[in-house]
Every structure is written in structure tokens, then in C-alpha cells.
Amino acid sequence: MLTALILTLAGLGLLAALAVPLARFAWAGLAMHGGCLLASVVLAGCGLAVLLAGALPVQALPIGVPALVAVDALSAWFLLLLGLAGSCSALFGLSHPLVAPRLLAAYPLFLAGMALTLIAADGFTLVLGFEAMSIASWVLVAADHAQAENRRAARRYLAFALLSGICLVPAIGLLGGVAGDLSFAGIRAAPPQGWVAVAVLALVVVGAGAKAGLVPLHNWLPLAHPAAPSHVSALMSAAMTKVAIYVLARLLLDLSGPAQPLWWGVPLLVLGAASAVLGALRANLEENAKTLLACSTIENIGLICIGLGLAACFRAADLGVLAGLAAGAALLHALNHAMFKSLLFLGMGEVAHAAASRRLDRLGGLIHAMPWTAGAVLVGVAAAASLPPLSGFASEWLLLQALLAAWRVGDLAFQVLGVAVVAAAALAAALAAAAMVRLFGLVFLGRPRTPRAAGAVDGPMPARLALLLPAGLTILFGLLPGTLLGLAEGAVQVLLPFGVAERSGFAMVRVGDGGARYWPLALTLLLAVVGGAIWWLVRRRAPAGVARGPAWDCGFIAPPQHLPFGDPVTQPSAAGFGQPLRRMLGGSLLAAHESVVMPRPGDPAPARLTSGYADPSEAWLLAPLARWRDALAVWAEKLRDLPLTATLMLPFGTLVALLALAAWLEAR
């Protein structure tokens, strides 16, 4: 089966190589997306097969350099996720294919890079795949580089991708140790200790966290996702951030060994909570649909990181069942988020194609014009708002249950932290619900705000399938979290080597023995019975049908002839809908401000309302970094004016310093 995977990767590479010469044919886009669809199905199939049948042994890649690949349960879980997200994205691509040759080449490479990262069995291959993924996705982010804002997004994206590489390569080097054995088996045999462990933790959290979009390194997501084509942003948000999560889990929880102390998970826990709240709050303020979804991705990545951090802490405190619960919740939420976020990004892509805008203030009323898209997106919105019985609720239920048990770790400081994280996670979930209501309500409900929005239609068949497939999986995963947890058992055991007690069944999930339980199938049955009974009783007594009339709106008059959909200004706007939250939380978390300039009495000038907010990472991280960069550049400029002797001294000094370092390392 590993051979099949390697052949798939080779096929994707071939597809990328052929894309440039074949791009002049009209069918090139279709062929490329068809090929990627096939590859994604193979990836998902292999992932599922390994989860059911067991791990595949290590094998060397036939590429001339020593590169090892293997698929264990953790890799397989993420391969399944990647395959499913890739299938949805490629299906959408069949309807709205990429055209430029460089994009046709980059898309399969992006997929192959992600798959290679997942099946890597040594540090070198891992970094190789990770960097291929970064560079290919950079090309895709820069797809529409004619616009200045997209160029800015691509530059910012590349800077963060570089940061990831700069941090991950030394992290892998430190894990390999002096012996330099980069294979995962070798690293596991000699896990890092002391300051090396601290350095690895910091480097991996920064390196993989920057790719996943963890606060404070989340800044590229709200820029890059709107810049990329819709199905690429779906794949980036659903799969690429999860690949970063995989790297995080693999390096910190698996390869760094099980004997790490309690604080090992704390950075993930704290940064995850911060990401969850900040992302969800920003999602309530953004006025571009895809930026909003990108911020919601930050929130969900935060929740997944909370789960992983919690698993590490529980593991250190010898609470095996709870550690398994937290890790299972993180893995399940990664899969669920991949599905509903693919769905939402593709749905917004369909909206952007049909209504020619992604700005919430230019859409509206699309539920009439695009019933299929609206129905599918409603499922995604409900799952993202974590409403039972959909998939988002199942994984957040598990995560909250794990968080509610965080006090069992005896340390008082950790207990206090746990309480704060519970509040943050609940706040994030409620904020996400508000953001999703805002998204669906402004885009699909109400009246059209522009003529283009009034003339939208549903997409062609493959695009509809690309929405219906993740919508169906979102419902299915919501009903069967127990089965999925059973499937993820092997992956959890990779992260937590000691045995994890059985805690899930076909129809339910539970928290240890005697703990809380969640039965999604029974709940759905209850909702169906209660809903059916209410419907039957009401319809028996009530007259059939409805009468139609102009909206009541507290007695407002009907709109004039020249405004067929009414004045858009009388509808809630994107900024207006976010105003309560901006006032309640924005001031302290996002430096939101709002001021009204009233003209003097008698002055006919209009009153002016100005409002805005700034992400704290801009002011606290990026602005100082930019200042340092400029100062460094000015300082480096001085090197050009050095006399010849000094210029010669520089490389000599460097050489001596490196030799001294090598000698010191030898001596240790």
C-alpha cells in the first residue's frame, strides 16, 4: 500500500511537470483537477485502510537521497482528512478550474507536499514535504498578483513560511542530536532533555504554530485566504493548517517522548485559548466572507491546540483516560473542522462566482437564488456554531469535558489556568455561533443588497457535489463520533504510548466510567420525534399555507419603485451586526474604537462615525519586528564601506568560530 502512496505522489509530481506544457489546451484544468481528485481518493482510502488494518513499515524513497516514509495510525488519520478535503476541493475545481500554468503546476505539488509531510518517517523528509507545501501554496496565494493587496498577502505569507522553515530545521536538528540520526525511530530512542527540550518546544511551537495560524503568528491567515482561489483556500484552511497540527503533535507529543514534565503542554494550552478567543472575536468584526472564515479557522486551530496541550498535561500527570479523551477530542475536531470549513469556503467560493463579491455588505437574500448552496452552507454554519447534533458539537463536547476535568491535575496554578481556559473555550464557542449567524444571515437571508446578488444562480453539478459531500460527512460525523473515536484509537495511542481505556461505543462517547455521556443518535431520534409531534399537532389545528405581504417592519412603508429590493441601508450591515461585540469585547482585546463627530447645532454638515480595530499582533509583534528589520538593514549597509582587511577578517572570523563550535561539540 505504501507503494501505492508513493506512486500517487509520483503521479502528482508528473501532473505538475506536465501542467506547464499542456496548459494551453482547454482541458488542462479539468485533467489536472481530475487527477488530483483521483489522488485524493487514493490518499483517503489508504488512510482509512491503515486505520482499519494497522501501520505500514518504514520504507526508503527511491529518490537518491536517504528519505524514509511510513504510515502509522497518526499519519493515516491526517491522510484520511487530507484525502477528504482534497476530494471536495478538486470536485469544486472541476467546475471552476484554475487556468494559469503556474497555478496548474502548483496545485498538485501542494497536495503532494502535504501528503509527503504526513507519510515522512524521518526529519529530512518531513521538512522537505513541509517546505514543498509552503512554496506551492505561496504560488497559489499569489494567484491574482495583479492586485496590490494580494501581492502584500503573498509577501506576508512567504515571510511566515520562511519563519516556519527557520524554526523547524533547527528543531529537527536538535531532535536528531549529536549523532545526527534523523529517522523517527532514532529520535524516539533518544528524546530531548533539559535545555534541548525547551529549545525544541519553543522552535516547534513557533515553526508549526506559524503554519497552523496560532496566535500571535496568525496574521497571514486573514490576508492569504481571501487572496487565494476559493478551493485553494478551502484546502489551505482544511488541510494545510491540519498538516501543521500534525507536525506539532508528531514532534512534541510523539517524538519528544512521553516523559516530559507538566509544563510541556502549557504553551499550547495558553496559545490555543488565545487563538480561540481572538479568532472568534475577529470573525465577528470582519466584513469579507473569506476573511471571516479565515478568522474562524484561527479559532478552531486554537481549540485543537487546547486539546493537544491538555493531552500532554494529562499525560504528565498520569491521567491516562483523560489524556486519551483530550487527544481524541483534538483529532476529532481536526477532522470535523476540515469538513465543515471546506464546505464553508467552497460555499463562499460559489457565492463569489455567482454574485461577484465576497463582501458581506454586497450580498444578501441568496437563499432564494442559490437554494442548494444555501442549504449546504447552513449545515456547515450550524456545525461551526457547534450546534447539536452536528459534528462540531460532538468534538467540542469532548473537548469541554476534557477541560472540565483539568482540575484533576493536582497543581493549583494549573487548575486556575484550566478554569480560565474553560471560560475562554466557552466564550470562543459562543462567539463562533454569533459569527456564523452573522455570516449566514447577511449572505443568504434578507434582501439582496446589490443587483448582482439578485441575479445569482447555483453552480454546476460538480460544484454542488463538492458542497453536498462535506455537508453529508458533517452530518454523518456528527451522528457517529463514537465510531470515529474508535477509528482514531490507534492515532491516540501514537501520542500517548500507555494504553487508553475503552471509552466510546458505536452510538455514544463517554468520559471514563460513570462520567458524562453523549448519545448523538438517541438525541437525533428524540429531536425527530419531538419535532414530528409538534409539527403534526400544529398542522392539525392550524390552517394550511401562509399569506404573503410586504414586511411589517413596525409599519415602515413599502420601498419605492426604483429600489426593487428596498433600500439596502435599511438592512443590518456587516459593521452594524458586529457592533455590540465590538463594544463589549473589542475595546479590550482588539483596541477597537468608535467615535462620533457631531456638527454644531445649525450646521448642515453630516455627523461622522469612525470606527476601527487593530489586531494586537500587528502592534505588538509585527511592527517592532519591522523596526528591527529596518535597523538591521541600516546596520548591515555599513558592511559595504568596510576596508579590505576588515572584509577579509569577517569570513576568517566566521570560519574560526565555526571550527571552535565543532571542537566544543566534539569534546562534549
Binding site: L404, V437, V530, V538, P543, G549, D553, P572
Partner: protein, 319 residues
């Protein structure tokens, strides 16, 4: 035999809460009228209104979609489904294994989302205003609720209502400061979630400060009837939840016990009546606050929840 008793309890519970829901709303209105020196409508008035509204054909806005037609059913369904899970007069109901505090929070959130979407469907200014305020208030109410759940889960070892109720009835816990704080936090959340004074005024129409009513301005006929029913069910649910967690006295044990059930029903009716009286007295004594003061009110609930959890940590450490 045990399962028969469980099903019988569940059916009795369903009948009891369905009978209680209109009486709770009507009773609170009647009590408030009496406290304010008015005669007030009969406590059965909400039921009469419900039956009257059911007979009327709804009028929908021209551009309203199927959301406006489906959301009332969804809202009433999740409210009733959540209420079915909250124990009233006896433990060991057939659906007791499903009753989980986090799940009930999720069901309430689902009802809230249905209501907010229905409010935005016609594209009117009032509906959107109400929806955005409702969702924003929930953003602070939900963490407070989860912190209360944390306190209860620490004491009972589970968020299952059955386990929590059994532990509190057993009385081994005694009086704890944390529980008092958690009760106050839960009461504040309940006031906000049910759109009661001082967060919202259930008796107003056409006022800029309203939240809940603003979202159902466009609803009429059976849709309005269902929304009113959903809000009555939700109020009953919150009162029943508070009674089940903090005042579990007299609740009948698991199994077939007709005498215990009679006592349990009597105790439950008394508890609900007392809670209604307290709510009516509170609402009569206090003025509605400005909308942008509500975050402070809910923030206080959140802090009380935090304090409750911290005190519990310290007390378990000292003990």
C-alpha cells in the same frame, strides 16, 4: 419492570412540564400584575393566546424564505427536547442518560441560532438588531454557564444532571460558598437567556432596547404561537434546571414509587411556584438596564462563576 417505571416517569414528566409551561408564564404575569396593583389577566391567558394564534393563518414578508417557516418548529423542538431531559419530580427517567448540562447548553444555543436566523430572514432593521444583540449577550452568558457546570462537575464528577441531582439530594455536600456563588451566576444567566428584566423586557413591543421581541416582530399565526411556546418552554426549563440542581428536595427516587411520585410532584409544583414568585418580585422591584450595561451584568456572572471555581480549588486543598 425498571424500564416500564422509567418510561412512565418520562411520560408523567412530559405531561407535567407541558402543563406547567403556560402556567409559569401566565403565573408570573399575574403575580407581577398583583404586585403592581393591577388585577391582571388569568394565569391561563398564555394558553388561550396560543390556541387563538394557532387558528390564524401566518402572514410572511414577500422575501421571507423557508427559514421563517422552519425556524419556529426548530426553536420549539429544541426547547421541548431540552426540557424533556431536565428532571422534575423524579429521577431515573427513561431519557436520563441523555441529560447532560453541556448538551442542554448546546440545545439552548441551537434554539437561539434558529431564532436569530428567523429574525434576519425578512431583512428588516429590527430583526437584525435583535439577532446581533441576542448572539452577543449569549457570548458572555455561555462562559458563565460553563463555569457553573465546572463547579458542579468538580463536586459530582460528571456533568450529567442525574448524577448532580443525586449528589445534591443526598445532602453530604452541606452548604458551600462556591455553590452559593454558582447559584447567583446561574440565576443571572437564566435572567439573560430568558430575556427577562433587567436584561430585556418581555412585556414591551416597539422599543429600541428590546432584544427577543425584535426578532419575532415579523412572525404571526402559528409561527408566533410556536415562538411564544418556545420561550415559555425555555423559561420553564431554566426554572426546572435551577430547582433540579440546587433544590432537589422531595425528588422521587429511581424506580416505581407512586407515593414518592405524588410527593415529588407536589414538591416540584411548590418549588416552581416559589421560583415564579421570586422572579416576579425581582422583576417588579428592579428597572430595566441600558443595553450596553448588560455586558457588565453578565460579566459579573462570569466573575462569580470564576470565583466559585477558585474557592472550590482552595477548599479542596485545605480540606
Amino acid at each position: 419492570m425498571a424500564w416500564l417505571a422509567a418510561i412512565l416517569t418520562q411520560i408523567l414528566h412530559l405531561a407535567l412540564v407541558l402543563a406547567a409551561a403556560p402556567l409559569v408564564v401566565g403565573g408570573i404575569r399575574w403575580l407581577k400584575a398583583r404586585m403592581q396593583g393591577r388585577i391582571g389577566a388569568s394565569p391561563l391567558q398564555p394558553l388561550r393566546d396560543f390556541l387563538k394564534l394557532l387558528r390564524k393563518r401566518p402572514v410572511l414578508a414577500d422575501n421571507a424564505s423557508w427559514i421563517s417557516q422552519a425556524a419556529p418548529y426548530a426553536g420549539a423542538t429544541v426547547a421541548l427536547a431540552a426540557l424533556v431531559l431536565v428532571p422534575s419530580f423524579a429521577r431515573g427517567m427513561a431519557l436520563a442518560p441523555l441529560a447532560d448540562l453541556v448538551l442542554i447548553a448546546g440545545l439552548l444555543a441551537a434554539g437561539r441560532v434558529a431564532l436569530a436566523l428567523a429574525g434576519m430572514d425578512a431583512g428588516t432593521a429590527f430583526g437584525g438588531l435583535g439577532a446581533s444583540r441576542e448572539m452577543s449577550f449569549a457570548a458572555l452568558a455561555e462562559p458563565a454557564l460553563l463555569l457553573v457546570a465546572l463547579v458542579l462537575a468538580m463536586l459530582a464528577g460528571s456533568t450529567g444532571l442525574e448524577t448532580i441531582g443525586a449528589l445534591f439530594q443526598d445532602g453530604s455536600l452541606g452548604l458551600r460558598v462556591s455553590l452559593g456563588l454558582a447559584l447567583v451566576a446561574l440565576l443571572a444567566v437564566a435572567v439573560a437567556e430568558n430575556a427577562r428584566i433587567p436584561v430585556d423586557n418581555p412585556a414591551t413591543h416597539l422599543e429600541l432596547t428590546m432584544v427577543h421581541e425584535a426578532m419575532i416582530l415579523e412572525a404571526s399565526g402559528r409561527h408566533l404561537a410556536l415562538w411564544e411556546a418556545a420561550s415559555a418552554l425555555r423559561l420553564t426549563l431554566w426554572l426546572a434546571l435551577i430547582a433540579a440542581i440546587f433544590f432537589p428536595f422531595g425528588t422521587a427516587p429511581v424506580g416505581f414509587a407512586p407515593l414518592g411520585w405524588a410527593v415529588g410532584i407536589g414538591a416540584w409544583v411548590a418549588k416552581m411556584a416559589l421560583l415564579c414568585l421570586a422572579l416576579a418580585a425581582f422583576e417588579s422591584a428592579i428597572a430595566k438596564m441600558r443595553v450596553f450595561r448588560v455586558p457588565e451584568f453578565l460579566g459579573a456572572a462570569l466573575l462569580l462563576g470564576l470565583l466559585a471555581a477558585l474557592l472550590l480549588f482552595l477548599s479542596t486543598r485545605l480540606a
